[in-house]
């Protein structure tokens, strides 16, 4: 028979360790791993949320592969990533770099930049949506019209819509990235700069040879963080195009929005799950790639 007192101290330690570990392990198993596994399972099935699930083999993936909308959406998702990440990285670095040197109203300015990050994405998306409207209600177009400049179709255009949706998303994330960059800048030891000054090195060399290399961990963190953010972009797009989600003609639709629509307006759970698996694989690949870069460091 099992008796607690028969265990060695080491075994007791292990038992206690597992008892405490069981809480997070169980938690992860139930709310992370089980749903993930289930989603992968559903991607091989047909299910409309109501009836029974039926095995569909690879049908959902075949359908996905042959769906031109999926490829369009896939491309959009990467456009969000490839435009959004570098733009927000450069902007936030430039702002943080200069804000760091500024003493006058430093705290106030920093707060102003951080403010959009604290605002609800939904409220922000709607305000920007109204900014973009044509005359007579759109702020930007009213401004243009009052100078006799022709209106710009911001949202109702297959070419302008994606950048128009991306702009507020970049703007909203800026505050956070600026704060991280400033923390990174402060962490660089002053002595390097002093040494550079004594040697009479120009500001460009200081920036290129000291600041940026020493900021690499910060940069990698921000790149990973914002890449995942842009790959999962949803709320800005959905709220700025609610009448015609991801439109016009799918030109702004990211993968997450397509998943949402397949699942909750077409009730095609299997198809949505297949898309989710693809998104999962993409996120995994991008993250692994970036972790590799981090390790090189």
């Amino acid at each position: 028979m099992f008796r607690w007192s028969d265990l060695t101290i080491r075994q007791k330690h292990i038992a206690w360790a597992w008892a405490f570990l069981a809480v997070p392990v169980l938690f992860y198993a139930v709310i992370r791993f089980y749903p993930t596994g289930n989603a992968i399972l559903i991607s091989f099935q047909d299910w409309n949320l109501l009836g029974s699930r039926e095995w569909a083999g690879l049908d959902n993936y075949v359908k996905l592969f042959n769906d031109p909308e999926f490829w369009h959406v896939f491309r959009n998702t990467f456009v969000y990533l490839l435009l959004g990440t570098p733009i927000s990285l450069v902007l936030s670095f430039v702002i943080a770099y200069h804000l760091d040197k500024l003493r006058f109203m430093h705290g106030f300015l920093r707060m102003l930049y951080f403010l959009p990050f604290m605002t609800s994405a939904v409220a922000m998306a709607w305000v920007w949506r109204w900014f973009y409207q044509p005359v007579p209600i759109g702020l930007f177009n009213n401004f243009l019209a009052s100078f006799g400049i022709p209106q710009i179709n911001f949202l109702n255009s297959t070419t302008n819509a994606l950048p128009s949706v991306l702009a507020p998303a970049v703007w909203a994330g800026l505050g956070f990235q600026i704060i991280i960059f400033m923390a990174g800048l402060r962490a660089i030891p002053k002595s390097y700069y002093e040494a550079a000054k004594i040697d009479g090195v120009g500001w460009w060399t200081v920036l290129w040879e000291i600041t940026i290399p020493l900021l690499k961990p910060t940069i990698v963190f921000i790149v990973v963080f914002s890449s995942i953010g842009f790959l999962r972009i949803f709320d800005h797009v959905f709220n700025m195009t609610t009448n015609n989600p991801g439109g016009p003609l799918n030109s702004t639709k990211p993968l997450v929005l397509m998943i949402y629509e397949s699942a909750f307006s077409s009730f095609d759970m299997g198809y949505a799950a297949a898309q989710t698996v693809v998104l999962f694989v993409v996120l995994l690949a991008v993250s692994l790639l970036q972790l590799r870069i981090l390790r090189d460091n």
Partner: protein
């Protein structure tokens, strides 16, 4: 709440009676589920109160959910033996509910098909399979043309009765600024709102077409009539002097509410939200006819059905409740409280209702209304939206865009019915 008190009283009375053994009547509690929409909940509370007064041995417990969660909760609850005995669902979901065995047919002795065929508006027959009805609505919705009285007066024009007149009124009420930017539209437009229904079941039929064949399983609008309907529609915003713009003031109903649109096609459910707009004087008229008087309208509805969970005495109580919520009295209450139209001509077409300034045009529209059997309403709407976008944003010829839309919709329908 009054009915809460009443319910507990009724329940207490019934249970004490049962306990005394004075009668075999025991309180049966049935559950009713619907999605949350303020006026609908209020109306249902009234109906339940009346029903419980007439049937003291039955209590009805209403539960409502946000629309977004509705389907998931129903699907999870019923197979588990929980949830509603009587459930509300959109007519377009019927197939899914039947196939998932969530609902059962209404009993033929209480709901004889021949009687329902004769008494209800004909579009309700979409709920019939063989000789049995699966579900029945309390109320239905149709489309009509809302107009802004002030703007029409200002332009010196009368509400239109034909499509040509509508275009003239729209031209007279459209305003542009010096640069040619629209600042007020004669007509709202946008397939994202109700226009896709107007185009499908209204314009296409009015131009002599039949939008679908084979019980809505075959797309048939890629025809001369369909093209004529499409060109009529795109002409409103792509003609030489456009009377509207897609996305003007973001949403059609917003433009109308703000008094920047003279005319707007919308459903009867919009009445309630327009009633409270300060400074907006509006009227309603039937959807415009063609020059030779052809009219057509679209109608949709939510239905109630008995779930497979209801058995024994709960089933009997559920049948009684269904009888009540599809009665003339219930329909009148629904019209007065929610503004949705009675599903029976005998209630809707009373002189008072049919000649009502606001409800009248909608109710008269029901007589020539068609109900699209959607496989995936938002998916099918999206195809209409894109049909217009290809023409407007990519310069595709209307005929070509129409063909692309028809092909895509057929594919969607085939996939749905193949399951």
């Amino acid at each position: 709440m009054a009915f809460e008190k009443f319910r507990s009283l009724a329940f207490a009375t019934a249970t004490s009676l049962a306990a005394l053994g004075a009668t075999s009547a025991q309180a049966v509690e049935i559950e009713y589920w619907q999605y949350f929409f303020d006026a609908r909940v209020t109306a249902m509370e009234q109906l339940i109160e009346n029903f419980e007064a007439a049937n003291p041995d039955i209590t009805v417990k209403m539960t409502h959910f946000p629309y977004a969660d509705y389907r998931t909760k129903v699907a999870a609850a019923i197979p588990a033996g929980e949830g509603p005995d009587v459930v509300q669902l959109f007519y377009g979901w019927l197939n899914d509910y039947v196939e998932a065995e969530l609902i059962q047919p209404l009993p033929a002795d209480s709901f004889p098909a021949s009687k329902i065929d004769a008494e209800f508006f004909p579009m309700v027959q979409a709920m019939k399979e063989g000789d049995a009805y699966w579900a029945l609505p309390t109320a239905v919705r149709s489309l009509a043309l809302f107009y802004n009285e002030r703007l029409l007066e200002e332009a010196g024009v009368e509400p239109p009765t034909t499509l040509d007149e509508m275009m003239q009124v729209a031209a007279a009420t459209t305003k542009v600024d010096g640069a040619g930017n629209l600042t007020q539209v004669g007509m709202t437009a946008g397939m994202t709102a109700q226009d896709h229904h107007w185009w499908r079941e209204g314009l296409v039929r009015q131009m002599g077409g039949e939008p679908y064949l084979n019980d809505y399983k075959t797309v048939n609008y890629n025809s001369d009539a369909g093209l004529k309907a499409l060109e009529f529609y795109t002409n409103m915003f792509m003609g030489e002097n456009p009377v509207t713009a897609i996305g003007f003031m973001d949403e059609p109903q917003a433009a109308f509410k703000a008094g920047r649109a003279a005319m707007h096609i919308d459903g009867s459910f919009r009445i309630g939200s327009l009633a409270d707009i300060r400074g907006l004087k509006w009227g309603v008229t039937e959807l415009p006819a063609t020059a030779d008087g052809v009219r057509s309208n679209y109608s949709s509805y939510w239905v109630n059905a008995i779930t497979t969970k209801a058995e024994g005495e709960k089933y009997d109580a559920a049948v009684k409740f269904m009888e009540y919520v599809t009665s003339d009295e219930a329909m009148q209450i629904w019209l007065d409280v929610v503004g949705e139209l009675p599903a029976k001509p005998s209630v809707g077409m009373t002189d008072e209702n049919a000649n009502d300034d606001v409800f009248g045009p909608f109710i008269r529209g029901l007589e020539y209304a068609h109900t699209t059997k959607f496989a995936d309403e938002s998916g099918q709407r999206q195809l209409m939206v894109e049909m217009i976008e290809r023409i407007q944003l990519q310069g595709m010829a209307p005929a070509e865009s129409l063909a692309v839309a028809a092909e895509a919709e057929q594919k969607l329908l085939d996939e749905y019915y193949a399951k």
